[in-house]
Symmetry: C2
Subunit: 418 residues, 2 copies
C-alpha cells in the first residue's frame, strides 16, 4: 500500500450520527496504519490549511465520538462552484492536499459535497496528482440519489415519530378544555421525508398525526382548514405535521421568514407552523399550539436509531476501504434487499450519479388525499427507525458526550485569501 495521509471533512448540516461515521473512518484507517487528518470546519479548513491531527486522540475518545452528536471537527455551509468559476479555490485545495501528502480525501456530506468531491477528483487526475476522492453520505433530509437512505435521517425520523406520538398523548389528554390543534414543524426544504416519518407515530385512521403536509404536494389552505375541522369534529383534536418547505401551487413558500438565502443558495425557511397556527386560530377559532424543534431534531443522539447508527458507521468503514482500494470518485451507498426483516449492504456508486441530484418522495408514498403516507411508505420508513443506539449516561443524568482535543497540524503554506 502507498504512503500518505487521509483527509476527512464534514460538510453541511450536522446530524446525530455524523460523528459515528467519523469515528468509523478513524478507527478503520488506524487499523490499516493510515494517519487521519480532519479539516476544521469542513472544506473551509482544507482551504485555510486548518487541519486537525486525529492521531492525538485516544482510542477511547474516538469510540465516544461514535455516540456524540454535532460535528466534532466543525462543518460549514460553503459550496464550491464549477472548476472554471472557482478555479483558485480548487487549486488551493490541491496545494494543501499535496503539502500534507493527502492521498485519500473523504468528504462527508450531501449532494453538494458529492459534487465537490467529484470535481476535486477530476482536478487531481488532470493535474497528475495521485488522489482518491470518496463521498460519504450524510443528511437528515434523506434526499440523496442511489442510496436506500442517508445516515442521519433514520435518527431524525425516529425523533420525529416518537416526539409526535408523545406530544399527541399530551394533546389528547387536554383537548376537552385546552389545545385542540397541535402543529409540529419538521425540517425538509424540498423533500418531505422527515415529515412523512411522523406518520410512523400512528397506524389507525384516527391516530396522530392526522394531517401531514409535504412539500411534494401544493399547500391548499382551504383544503387544510377543512381537514383540520373535520378531524377535530371526529376525534376531538388534531395533530398536524408540516414540512418547513411546503409551498402553494404557484411556488410560494408558506413561510420564508426573512426571505433570505443561505450560502448554499437555499431560501432561509422557518415559521410554517406559526403561520398555520395563526390560520387555524383565526379561521376556525380553535385553541392551537405549535412546536418548532429546529436543531433538536437533528442532534438528538439520545433518541438515535440503531439502524441509522450502524449504517453511519458502515459507510465510514467502507469509505476507507474503497479509498485504500483506489476507487476514485465513488460513494459507499446503502442497498436494501428486504423490508421486513430489513436487509442491507454497502456498495460503491459513482459520485456522478449522486452529485446535485435530489431524491423526492415517490408519488406512491403519498396518500391520495395528500395528507398522509401509504403502506408502501411505511414499509420503507419503518426499519430505518428500528432499534435504540446505545448511549452511556453519566451520574449527572446527562449523556457522556466527548470533546476532542482537536490538535492543529503545523501549517506549511502561506495564508490563503479566498
Amino acid at each position: 500500500m502507498r504512503n500518505g495521509t487521509l483527509l476527512y471533512a464534514q460538510s453541511g448540516g450536522v446530524t446525530a450520527v455524523i460523528n459515528a461515521t467519523a469515528a468509523a473512518v478513524i478507527e478503520q484507517a488506524r487499523a490499516k496504519g493510515i494517519k487521519v487528518l480532519a479539516a476544521r470546519n469542513g472544506i473551509l479548513g482544507a482551504l485555510r490549511e486548518e487541519l486537525i491531527d486525529t492521531s492525538k486522540e485516544s482510542a477511547a475518545a474516538i469510540r465516544a465520538l461514535a455516540h456524540t452528536p454535532g460535528g466534532a471537527f466543525g462543518s460549514c455551509r460553503v459550496k464550491l462552484k464549477s472548476l472554471e468559476a472557482d478555479r483558485a479555490r480548487y487549486d488551493r485545495l490541491l496545494e494543501v492536499l499535496r503539502a500534507h501528502d493527502v492521498r485519500w480525501f473523504l468528504y462527508n456530506g450531501g449532494n453538494d459535497s458529492a459534487d465537490t468531491a467529484l470535481k476535486v477528483s477530476q482536478l487531481a487526475k488532470s493535474s497528475g496528482y495521485d488522489l482518491t476522492c470518496i463521498g460519504v453520505p450524510k443528511t437528515i433530509d434523506n434526499d440523496l440519489a442511489v442510496t436506500d437512505t442517508c445516515p442521519g435521517f433514520g435518527s431524525a425520523a425516529k425523533y420525529t415519530a416518537v416526539s409526535v406520538r408523545e406530544a399527541a398523548l399530551d394533546v389528547a389528554a387536554m383537548a376537552e378544555t385546552s389545545t385542540r390543534v397541535f402543529i409540529y414543524e419538521a425540517m425538509g426544504r424540498h423533500a418531505g421525508w422527515l415529515a412523512a416519518a411522523a406518520g410512523l407515530a400512528g397506524t389507525g385512521e384516527d391516530d396522530a398525526p392526522h394531517i401531514i403536509l409535504l412539500p411534494e404536494r401544493a399547500y391548499d389552505e382551504a383544503a387544510f382548514l377543512a381537514k383540520v375541522k373535520a378531524v377535530v369534529a371526529r376525534v376531538g383534536y388534531c395533530v398536524v405535521v408540516a414540512s418547513e418547505g411546503i409551498a402553494t401551487a404557484d411556488g410560494r413558500f408558506v413561510a420564508d421568514a426573512g426571505g433570505g438565502k443561505d450560502s448554499f443558495g437555499h431560501s432561509q425557511l422557518g415559521g410554517v407552523a406559526a403561520h398555520l397556527a395563526g390560520r387555524v386560530k383565526d379561521q376556525l377559532g380553535l385553541k392551537v399550539h405549535w412546536a418548532l424543534p429546529d436543531y433538536l431534531q437533528r442532534s438528538a443522539r439520545h433518541l438515535a436509531s440503531k439502524t441509522d447508527w450502524e449504517q453511519a458507521q458502515a459507510v465510514g468503514k467502507a469509505a476507507v476501504q474503497l479509498a485504500l482500494k483506489g476507487q476514485n470518485g465513488v460513494m459507499p451507498v446503502i442497498v436494501r434487499s428486504s423490508d421486513a426483516p430489513y436487509r442491507w449492504k454497502i456498495e460503491a456508486a459513482p459520485l456522478s450519479k449522486i452529485a446535485n441530484h435530489e431524491k423526492k418522495m415517490p408519488a406512491s408514498f403519498i396518500r391520495r388525499d395528500g395528507f398522509g403516507i401509504t403502506a408502501k411508505a411505511r414499509a420503507y420508513l419503518q426499519p430505518l427507525i428500528k432499534g435504540e443506539a446505545p448511549l452511556p449516561y453519566g451520574s449527572d443524568g446527562l449523556p457522556k458526550y466527548v470533546t476532542l482535543k482537536n490538535v492543529a497540524v503545523k501549517q506549511k503554506l502561506p495564508a490563503f485569501e479566498g
Copy 2:
C-alpha cells in the same frame, strides 16, 4: 377498614410521569382491595359523572401505564372558584361522590388542584359526609410550595438540559458559516425552574447555555443584546435559553401571543424565542435559529429522569396510604435530606400550606448578572435529572405506550349543566 371506592382525577397540564403516579395509585389501592374510579378529563368528569372503572384494566396495562406519558384518563384546565361563588359545582361534586360511595378522593395536580381538594374536603366535613381528600403533587413548573420538587419537573428538566446540550453541539459545529445564535424557549409562566435546569447542560464559563433568561429577573433588551454580542465575540456562538414568562421591568410579557387568557386565568404566552431571534437578527445582524419544543418538553417520557419517575410513583403510593389512614386535606410531599447523594422521603403536608402558593426560584439560585444559575441551584437541580427511567421499545422502533380501555361506570344521576 371502611368500605367505599377511591376516586382519582388528573388536573392541569399533563407530564411525562403523571401516569406513573396514576399507576402507583391503582396498584396500591388494588393491593389493599380498594376499587379505583378515575374521572374522565379531570374534575369535569367528576362533575359530569363521567367516571372510568379502572378495575377493567389488566395488571400489565397498569404497569405499562407507569411508562406512558400524557394523561391516561384525560385532564382539564378548569379551576373551581370559592365555595360561595361555585357552590352549585361543589354540591354536585359531593353528590357524585356520594352516588358512587367515594370515600377517598385523590386529586393529582398543581396548586390550583390543591386548593380544590382542600375545599372539597372542607365541604364534605361540614356536610357530614365521610370523605378523605388528598392532593397529589404534579407539575413541570416545579412551583409547588413545601415539597422539594414536583413530579414531572425532573423529567422536563432532563429533557431541557439534554436537548440544549445536543443542540449546542450542533450550533458549535456550524457557527463559522451558519447560525451564531440559538434560542431555546422553555415553559414556565412565573417561575424559571425549567429554564434554569438548562444550566445543567454545561459547567464551564464558555459552555452552553451562555445566557438564561428567567422570569424572576426583569428582561432588559440592551443588556441581553450586549451579552449575546460579547459571547459570540468570545466563544464564536451563543446559546440562549429563555423562559416563556420573561417580562420587562414594567411587567409586560416579552411575547404574549394573542394576549388571551386560558381558563385558569393565566395569560396565554408564546413567541418569546421568535421575538428574541428577531431582535438579535435586526440589532446584531447575526444569523439566528430558535426552537420551541412546546408540549414535547413535558411529554418526553423517552427521556424521563429515573429520580422523577420514582418520585411520581412514590407520591401515588403514599397518597393511597394517607387516604386509607384518613389523613384528610394533606398532600404527600418530597422532603430532601441530602443533595449528594440525593436522599429523600415522603411526608404529609397540609394542603392549606400548598394551595394557591407559587414557589419561585430563590435569589440565591440566580447568578448576580441574572443570566445564569449558581452552584447552589446546580446542587439542587442536579439530582432531579439523575438516572434514566426504564422504557420498553417495540420492534417498530417506538416506545411501547399503552392505551387503556377506559370503561365507563354506569351513571346514576341526572345530567348536570354547570
